[in-house]
Symmetry: C2
Subunit: 345 residues, 2 copies
Amino acid sequence: MSAQMQQIVLASRPESAPTENFRLESSPLPQPGEGEVLVKVHYMSLDPYMRGRMDDAKSYAAPVPIGGCMEAGGVGEVLASNSPYFEVGDFAFGMFGWASHGCLPAKELRKLDPKQGPITAALGGLGMPGFTGWHALSAYGRPQAGENLGVSAATGPVGSMVGQLAKKAGLRVVGLAGGADKCKMAVETFGFDACLDHRAYGDARALRKDLKEACPKGIDVYFENVGGKVLEAVLPLMNINGRIPICGMIAWYNAGGLGEGASDQALTGPNIWRNILVKFLSVNGFIISNHFDRYPDFLKEVAPMVAKGELHFAEDIAEGLENAPAAFMSMLTGGNTGKQIVKLV
Amino acid sequence: MSAQMQQIVLASRPESAPTENFRLESSPLPQPGEGEVLVKVHYMSLDPYMRGRMDDAKSYAAPVPIGGCMEAGGVGEVLASNSPYFEVGDFAFGMFGWASHGCLPAKELRKLDPKQGPITAALGGLGMPGFTGWHALSAYGRPQAGENLGVSAATGPVGSMVGQLAKKAGLRVVGLAGGADKCKMAVETFGFDACLDHRAYGDARALRKDLKEACPKGIDVYFENVGGKVLEAVLPLMNINGRIPICGMIAWYNAGGLGEGASDQALTGPNIWRNILVKFLSVNGFIISNHFDRYPDFLKEVAPMVAKGELHFAEDIAEGLENAPAAFMSMLTGGNTGKQIVKLV
C-alpha cells in the first residue's frame, strides 16, 4: 500500500453554525511534478474567513465545493522537491488546506527560517492576520497620537496586532474580548489600557454604558472584527472624523446570506447611516488579499519589532487534523484564546 | 419710524416634519459698524441641512436657538459700507439668514460680478451645493470612465452637478428622483442615461428590481443625498470596491434623534455592514464646510464649464420672505424641482 495523506473536506453546507459538515478522507500521497514541492504540514491555521468559504452566498471569494478540501494556510517541512529553490528539510508556508501534506508549485511557497523564530509566526503575527491588522490600521485607521482606539477580538492575532501597534503610536487602546481571561491577557500581555468582556453584558446598551466610562473621550478609531453586539455598542460612541476599518463580521457569519434574520442584534439602518453622516466617519470594507503589495513593507516594519520582543502574540494550538473541525467551530464562538493553529505532527 | 428689516425666526422645535415652527419678525434696520457692510438680500437659499439646525440633537453644527434667525446663505446688493472692499451697489454673497437684510463684516462676504452670469448661481451650481457635489465626487467617489454611477435627488443642485460631472468623466449615470417631470429633466436637461421615479414604487424591493434593469452592470459609485427607500434599494446593487459618499439623509431628517422610529424604512444592520465588508465599499460621511480649502480648485475647474454652457442647473424660485417656511417644508418632501431659492425683492 502506498503512503497516504489525510485531508478534511466539506461534506455539506451548514444551515447556520457548522456542525457535521466535515469529513476526514485518506488518499495516496502525491508525488511532486515538475517545479513542485511536497510538504509535510506541521501546523495549519484556522481563521474566521473560512466560515465564509463554506457558504455559496455571493462574497469576495469562491466557495469551497462540496467534497473539496477546506482551505487553510500551513507551515511544514519539505519531503520531496522538484524545484531548485527548495531542498528536503526546508520549511515553507503555503496554502496546503486542511491536510496532512500538500504538493504545490514552488512559486506558491514562501521559505521560512526556523532559526529566526517559531515557524507558527508565519500563520499569525507575521502572517496574514498580523498583516491584516497592520494594513488596516495604517491605510484606513490612520492613528494619531493622543487618540482613542477600540478593537474587538482583542487577543486575536489581528486585534492584538492592531492594539499593540496603536499603543506604540501613542494612542489609548481599549479592547473588547469574550471572557475575563482574555481581558486580563489584553491588558497584561498586550499592554492595552483597558479591556471589556462583552459576554458579561446582556445587551449592547449595557456594554455601551461601561465602554463609555472606559473611553470618556469617545472612540476615534474602531477596528471591526466581530459585528453584532460589540459593533452596536461602539457606533454611538464614535467621535467626529472617526475611522472604522472592517475586516470581519464573525458574529454574523452564521446569520445566512447577507445577515437576514439577525436584525435584532443590530442598530437599525437610519442609526447606522446617520452616525456615518453626522460624524464624518470613514468606513472601509476590505480583504487583505487585495493588498499583498504592501506585505514587504509590513515585514520590514514589524519583523524587527517581533525580533526585539516588542510585540507579543498569543497562540491556541489544537492537536491533530481530526480535531480541526471542533477547534474551528469553537473559534467561531470565541472558544480560542489567540491565534488558532492545529498541530499536525 | 426708522427703516425696518424682516426676518424669520425659529419659534419652536419641530416634533417631526416642521409646521408652525416659524415666526416673521420686524426690527430696525441695522447700521454697519467698523468694517461692516449692510446688504439688501435679493435671493436667499433654502437647503435641506437647515432642517438639522432646527433640532437640538447632537450633530455637526450648533442648533439655531429658539427665537434665533434661521440660517441661510443669500445674495444681495450693498446698501451701505464701512469697508474699503465694498461700495454701495456691489453684489455679494453672505450668510444673511432668512432675512430681508444682513449686516456682516466685509471679510465674511464674497463679492459677485452680475456680468458673469446670474447671481443666483452663487447659491446653487457655483455655490455650496455645486461645490458639495464636486468635492464628494472627486475626493470620495473617485470616478473612472466606464463605471456606473447612481445619484439620488438627481435634479437637485448637488445631484445634477454630480451626474453631469460624472457624464463628462465617461461614466454611465442613472438618477433617482421624485416624480416623472424630474426624471424627464434629469435625462433631457442634464443628460443622464436614465432616471427612475422612486415615488412610483411601493417599496425598496420593487424599486431595486427596476434599478437593476437600469444598471445591469451594478453601481460603482452611489451618491447619497436622501436615505430611506432609495438607499435601501441601491445598497445590494453596489459593486465590489464601490464608493458611497454621504452628504445627506433627507428622508430621515424628520425621524428624530439619530433616526429612531424609522427602522422599517431601512436595511437591517447586518445587511448594511456585510455589504460594506464583502464589497470592500468605502463609505464616507462629510460636511462640505470642512473642505472649503478646495473651493478655489472647484471654481477653477467648474466655473469655465458653466460659462461655456456645458453644465446646467435648475432653480425653483419662491417669492417673498414670508413664503420661505412653506417653500422649505415643501422642499423637505421633494416639492421643489432644482435648487430652492427665495426671491426677496
